[in-house]
Assembly symmetry: C2
Homo-oligomer: 165 residues x 2
């Protein structure tokens, strides 16, 4: 396979994967491009390469910075801003886990806890409601704790754990 073909294919696949996991396609593709680039890219270069508008590039770069997976850089003697991402897959996985935990698991935990304080567990429906939401809460708490540990762990520890599987 030729380099440009492979590159396009990877960027495309990364975009699709992102979509399936609630991350917009442009954002995922932009990230893929930075992952492959041997040096930081300017907004201009990204626009050119991915054929997307300045506004879109800007918005998605900021979203990626917000997720903590893209950094702004400055080159000496250049006005322009350049952007890069860490090539460390492990660090990337940790950062994404950390953010999703904060943005999505924590809120559902809050709701599950609130909703438990429903009145009238004499009725069958209410008893069932408490049971199900209670179990979901316990399980989510365990997963939450696990992700927390994971995001604070180092690679060696994680790979050792994987061995035990």
């Amino acid at each position: 396979m030729e380099y440009n073909e492979a590159k396009q294919k990877f960027i495309q696949a990364w975009g699709t994967l992102g979509s399936n996991w609630g991350i917009n396609k442009a954002m995922a593709q932009l990230h893929a491009l930075l992952l492959l680039s041997t040096e930081p890219l300017s907004a201009e270069e990204i626009m050119e390469e991915l054929q997307m508008s300045r506004g879109n590039v800007n918005m998605n770069l900021r979203a990626l910075m917000d997720w903590g997976i893209v950094q702004k850089e400055h080159k000496v003697g250049e006005r322009k801003e350049f952007f890069s991402t860490s090539k460390d897959v492990w660090a990337l996985a940790k950062q994404v886990s950390k953010e999703r935990r904060r943005r999505e698991i924590e809120p559902i935990l809050t709701v599950l806890e609130q909703v438990q304080r429903v009145s009238g567990d004499n009725k069958k429906e209410v008893a069932e409601f408490k049971k199900v939401t209670g179990e979901l809460f316990d399980f989510s708490l365990k997963v939450d704790g696990m992700i927390d540990k994971f995001t604070k762990s180092d690679q060696t520890w994680f790979y050792k754990l994987l061995m035990k599987f």
Copy 2:
């Protein structure tokens, strides 16, 4: 909090959580409703309760059955079909993991592997490309294996593992 309020809140939250993870809102809400119900529900009842059209209910029930988390049932002396879901959170998590692995992780593994066979690693870009996609492939393979183990494990084993964390 009053039961109906809590119920609505939970269904709503489950829908939002679903959306964030690439699962459509109706599908997630429908699942939430079945989770809470003390007995199987007919399409009619679901339409009524969630205020959605027959077509939508039908489509999403089929999608949930496709995911293996909702089952069709028949009541004696009734023409109608009834639907239910397992209340076992553990079983649910395993089933969802299994399906997402099959639908999303496996395809990206295929692409990562293909794309590795790019020609010309004498050039800097190509070398970087191989390095990054190679590391992603290794990492994804490990995660894939882990999920596979998880979906085949039993609850006790998993909770013991959690302890070690």
